[in-house]
């Protein structure tokens, strides 16, 4: 299965198609780095140029009216051939690149399905993108991630805490904030999305990424729990349990729609916390 490497950096898009990749013709080998990035005064190496021309930015400002011979025309035939060839290659690479990106963004279609491998090979990992911004439909539910823990006290007693709503904490941190941090807006939200897309409905992890996402969520919740000083002082966290609480956003007052606003829970099994997770954020 062609896995998405980045899992849609999007902020939203909840009824996203599982896989909308494809690719056109164009052997993967046709890809070029685009040639050397030579440049003018901005090179970091000042080449005064034989003509003392350090100033292309004036673009022949004070040249007489008939445009000065520039570009290809100013080159000798041999050099013109090289430049012409380079121009053709650069134009071709740019065109193929845009075609590949287009096919990776478009819904799966005749062309992109046939050439899925080539498109993936070209676009991943550095040109991956997802622009289904609040599309096809915006998310219409508030998903809150909550956690509780079993704590072994100094005396060896085992205590189970109540549920802590970590998303509510994020929400409170975002309220009235002109510059929300990624740690408040993206970290937990996207970690939970990641876990959702790599787990079956039976909460079992799928593939390597499923295991990674579990560890990730575990590290986040342990880090967040340990910020609570009382809890941290009470003892060591032995096990944690995570659940999500999903509530529909109530429809607008001016609409006649009705949706249930009772929460739906997804409860994961208890996880044992290892030493690796408790070091998260412990500098």
């Amino acid at each position: 299965m062609p896995e998405r490497k980045r899992d849609g950096a999007g902020m939203d898009a909840y009824d996203e198609e599982p896989e909308a990749l494809g690719g056109p013709a164009g052997p993967a080998g046709a890809r070029r780095a685009g040639g050397p990035g030579t440049s003018g005064e901005d090179t970091g190496l000042e080449g005064p140029g034989p003509t003392g021309t350090g100033t292309e930015d004036t673009g022949g400002a004070d040249a007489p009216d008939p445009a000065p011979r520039a570009g290809l025309a100013a080159l000798s035939p041999r050099y013109r051939l090289v430049a012409g060839g380079a121009l053709a290659v650069v134009a071709a690479v740019a065109a193929v690149h845009l075609g590949m990106v287009f096919l990776s963004l478009a819904p799966a279609n005749t062309v992109s399905k046939r050439h899925a491998k080539a498109v993936e090979g070209w676009v991943y990992p550095e040109f991956e993108q997802n622009w289904k911004l609040f599309a096809p439909n915006p998310l219409q539910q508030n998903v809150a991630v909550q956690v509780r823990a079993q704590i072994r006290g100094e005396g060896g007693d085992l205590r189970t805490t109540g549920w802590t709503d970590l998303s509510a904490e994020d929400g409170a941190a975002i309220d009235g904030n002109l510059l929300p941090s990624h740690t408040q807006q993206n970290e937990l939200r996207r970690a939970w999305d990641f876990l959702g897309t790599t787990h079956g409905t039976d909460n079992r992890p799928v593939g390597v990424r499923g295991a990674l996402s579990e560890q990730y969520v575990r590290r986040i919740v342990v880090l967040r729990l340990r910020r609570d000083e009382d809890l941290d002082r009470a003892g060591t966290i032995e096990r944690v349990q995570v659940r999500s609480r999903t509530v529909n956003v109530p429809p607008p007052a001016w609409s006649r729609e009705k949706v249930s606003t009772s929460p739906a829970y997804r409860v994961l099994p208890w996880w044992t916390v290892t030493g690796d997770e408790t070091e998260a954020g412990a500098r």
Binding site: T38, L45, G176, V249
Partner: protein, 404 residues
């Protein structure tokens, strides 16, 4: 037939003879570098949690994912805290250097390395804004984005003026030192096998490095100007292609966002905009969101308007007046999104992407206004008056490709 070949020749001369859109490329350079710089400063207190080796997305987790997706990040070169701090600091400095256009090409490469390294290290921390910066940092490397509004341009202007007065201009020292330094880093990384995985970014790094060396050497080669002129043409070609890709990328973003929305029932029934305003993660100002969504008619207009603008934008590029109206609308919408949905960096990145389509005349006006403001500020500060930046040459505007 004759006319066709003449047009073709003129076109060839344009794309090989000049790096088009100097002001547009400068404004996106400043915009993207500034967005990333502000982001890094804002997240400075949270840098460990976001990208540090002991953060929740730990070095080990990242290592396992990257072994699979082959993304480029220098943060995988070592799991030490010190290495991370050095990289974060360098990423900050690189964006500052690119912002002011100091050794622009080298700064653009370092900027790209910084963006890719941090974002690929922790892919699950980002959002659409990070995605825009990720792509644009790669594309910016190909452009000559320091032709105007940069320290490089100022230095070149001064050298030119000195030469015109018949003075000897001392040779450049910083450039060769930077080049040698980056060469040493590249060689070390290659020899110690750090460039595992993907070949694209390492190849790009080597290519730019070799290109800069050639450029320098060709500038000293006194027997013929031709090699240097060839490199100049190549640089123009790469710049123009890069700028086209950047503009096309902006169109793809809007087209994708718009066309997928059309398929959504909420965008059809006119309530879509209501929902993000009521998500806990995207509503920093609930009272404001309630106020905005109090009117069903207004919500419907904004919902339909958003889709129309996003779908229409790429096509309006063929008509400068309509395009400019849409640019204003889109920038305004993103400014609102910055505050109302709490997405300042995403919005800033998108506004910057829009700015590549701004008319040259407007950018010149903006530049003049900025330099006057700076002049006033400096005079008030009591320091001596700085000479105004060189007047933007009219002919420059003349060879701007998409002069709007």
């Amino acid at each position: 037939m004759n006319r066709l070949s003449q047009t073709l020749a003129q076109g060839l001369e344009r794309v090989t003879g000049a790096a088009l859109g100097p002001y547009q490329s400068a404004v996106i350079r400043i915009g993207f570098a500034g967005t990333w710089l502000l982001f890094l400063l804002r997240e400075f207190p949270h840098r460990q949690e976001l990208y540090g080796p002991a953060g929740p997305w730990s070095w080990n987790l990242a290592h396992q994912l990257i072994a699979d997706n082959h993304a480029f990040t220098v943060l995988m070169w070592s799991d030490s805290r010190l290495w991370f701090e050095v990289c974060y600091l360098l990423a900050l400095l690189a964006s500052a250097a690119l912002l002011v256009g100091w050794r622009t090409r080298t700064a653009a490469v370092l900027f790209m390395v910084g963006v890719l390294s941090l974002q690929n290290r922790s892919v699950f921390m980002g959002d659409g804004g990070d995605n825009v910066l990720h792509l644009m940092s790669l594309y910016l490397v190909f452009t000559r984005c320091g032709q105007v509004w940069s320290l490089d341009a100022r230095r070149a202007g001064r050298a030119e003026a000195a030469r015109a007065r018949g003075e000897r201009v001392p040779g450049d020292r910083v450039g060769p030192v930077l080049w040698a330094l980056s060469g040493a880093v590249l060689v070390t990384a290659a020899v110690t096998g750090r460039f595992g995985g993907g070949w694209l970014v390492p190849a790009l790094l080597w290519a730019v490095w070799a290109g800069l060396g050639l450029w320098w050497a060709a500038g000293r080669w006194t027997r013929s100007q031709q090699p240097w002129m060839l490199l100049d043409v190549l640089a123009n070609v790469l710049h123009n292609a890069g700028l086209v890709v950047i503009m096309a990328e902006a169109c793809l973003i809007y087209a994708t966002a718009g066309w997928y929305k059309i398929q959504g029932s909420r965008w059809q029934d006119g309530t879509a905009v209501y929902y993000p305003l009521h998500l806990d993660y995207f509503s920093p100002w609930p009272a404001l969101a309630d106020l905005m969504s109090a009117s069903g008619v207004l919500m419907m207009i904004v919902t339909y308007g958003t889709v129309m603008v996003q779908v229409a934008f790429p096509f309006t590029l063929f008509n400068r007046r309509v395009k400019n109206v849409l640019l204003v609308l889109m920038m305004a919408e993103h400014a609102v999104i910055a505050v109302v949905l709490g997405l300042p960096f995403f919005s800033l990145a998108m506004i910057t992407a829009d700015a590549v389509f701004l008319p040259t005349a407007f950018l010149l006006f903006l530049g003049g206004w900025a330099s006057r403001a700076r002049g006033r500020l400096i005079r008030r500060g009591g320091t001596r008056r700085v000479p105004p930046p060189r007047a933007p040459e009219e002919s420059t505007a003349g060879h701007v490709g998409f002069r709007a």
